[in-house]
Amino acid sequence: MTSFNVIRWIVWKDFVTELRSRETISSMVFFALIVILIFSFSFSMDQQAAREVIAGIMWVAFAFTGIIGLGKSFSTELQNDCLEALQMVPEAKGAIYLGKVAANFAFMFLVEILLFPMFVILFNLEVVEEISLLLLVFFLATVGLSAIGTLFSALTVQIRAREVMLPILLLPLVVPVMIAAVEATKGALNGDPLAMYEQWLELLVIYDVVFTVVSFWMFEFVMDS
């Protein structure tokens, strides 16, 4: 099981690097806090109004912090040309992809878990009942974002203007994730009956499956000429 080993080592390396430098997660959290702050300036909200727009604000914050994390994920590989070493790994590239997806997913999910209480406190939400459903939505949407985001992070890191191109290429492609995540989050926060938004959960599952598989194969062509 060498490919499983590769996955494990990639995740290990990303975690140790992150633990020692704390660059990615701290910048993600800080950026998200600024987003929350700016949104709280631009909307003066009572609780009812907050419920309408909070899901959108939340996912805007999550998506942009996620893009910061995804961009970092491969741009750290550029120091000392480590990317070349990854490209020269004899194993199939899919293992590297899965390792990177796992690491990126973990970082993004961790940041979302850290930020969610902030939203609850700052926007006066009541969520105690629906917390497990919300976590499920976060989980599914983050899998989708990191699956396709990892592919494009690896792609854009090898071109000019990479910081600009990652969101330009990624955001149109994750439109379904954003719509589904926002609608499902809104439903859960409103305490709507599950029947009203379970379709969005199914859409997220479909998206996750499709893009994990497609990106897995495409990653080979990103890393390998």
Binding site: I148, L151, L155, Q158, I159, R160, A161, M165, I168, L169, L171, P172, L173, V175, P176, I179, A180, E183, Q199, L203, I206, Y207, V210, F211, V214, S215, M218, F221, V222, S225
Partner: protein, 242 residues
């Protein structure tokens, strides 16, 4: 290099495509603007359909060609297929933008708004954004081999994403009328259908013709630059040897 030969063969009929496009479009325009009656409900404005619907269809056709060509490129690595992909992306982007534009003009008198975040408008906008991203991506890579490869990856991922985007925005909100021509039958009366068919065929022919011209353009461009580059290197070498 079989595809090379096929392309060369098709290119020979380029003129037929162009001529056919002009004939069909002229017939379609005459029928659409003069020969066909107004709709019972929308009145004269329905004539915008004859230009809007073919543009939209053709841009989707273009995206399909792009995805198939990209797969082909990743498999065979034939540079002329990549030239075709680049050409079809640019043309699809233009056709999509024009479909959106004419759709907006149709929306004003019928829905009383230039723009609404309706399902099909949204998904076409996303399609346009993906195509523009594709074209931008290609300008940011120095190595033509990498440029082609990355472009192909984006095109394939985008193509797989297209139905999901379509469904997600469709459930999210929809206002656009359903398709008039579908597996369940045609709900356009013949007087209005004939010009639409003419315009559709004409627009597809026009698209194919433009695609051929543009592929040729990019191929010649590449050829010229390659030759020039080779001459440049030769010049350096000869200077060095003397």
């Amino acid at each position: 290099m079989t595809i090379h030969r096929v392309i060369r063969k098709v290119q020979r009929f380029e003129g037929w495509f162009g001529g056919g496009a002009v004939l069909c479009l002229v017939a379609g325009l005459y029928l659409g603007l003069i020969g066909s009656p107004p709709d019972y409900y929308q009145g004269e404005v329905v004539r915008i359909m004859y230009i809007h619907v073919p543009l939209a269809h053709t841009s989707l056709l273009g995206y399909t060609v792009l995805a198939v060509g990209s797969l082909w490129y990743l498999w065979k690595r034939d540079p002329i297929v990549d030239n075709m992909c680049q050409a079809v992306a640019a043309l699809s982007a233009v056709f999509t933008a024009l479909a959106l534009g004419t759709g907006m003009i149709w929306g004003k008198p019928t829905w009383d708004t230039w723009w609404t975040w309706d399902a099909r408008l949204t998904s076409f906008t996303v399609l346009l954004l993906i195509l523009i991203g594709y074209l931008m991506l290609r300008t940011f890579v120095d190595d033509p081999e990498k440029e082609a490869r990355y472009g192909a990856i984006l095109a394939i991922v985008g193509f797989v994403d297209l139905p999901i985007i379509h469904f997600s925005v469709e459930w999210w909100r929809t206002l656009h009328q359903p398709q008039s021509i579908s597996m369940r039958g045609v709900s356009i009366s013949s007087g209005l259908l004939v010009p639409l068919l003419f315009m559709s065929v004409g627009m597809s022919l026009l698209f194919s013709y433009m695609l051929m011209v543009r592929t040729q353009l990019l191929y010649l461009d590449r050829l010229l630059h390659a030759k020039k580059g080779r001459l440049l290197s030769q010049f350096h070498l000869s200077k060095f040897d003397s």
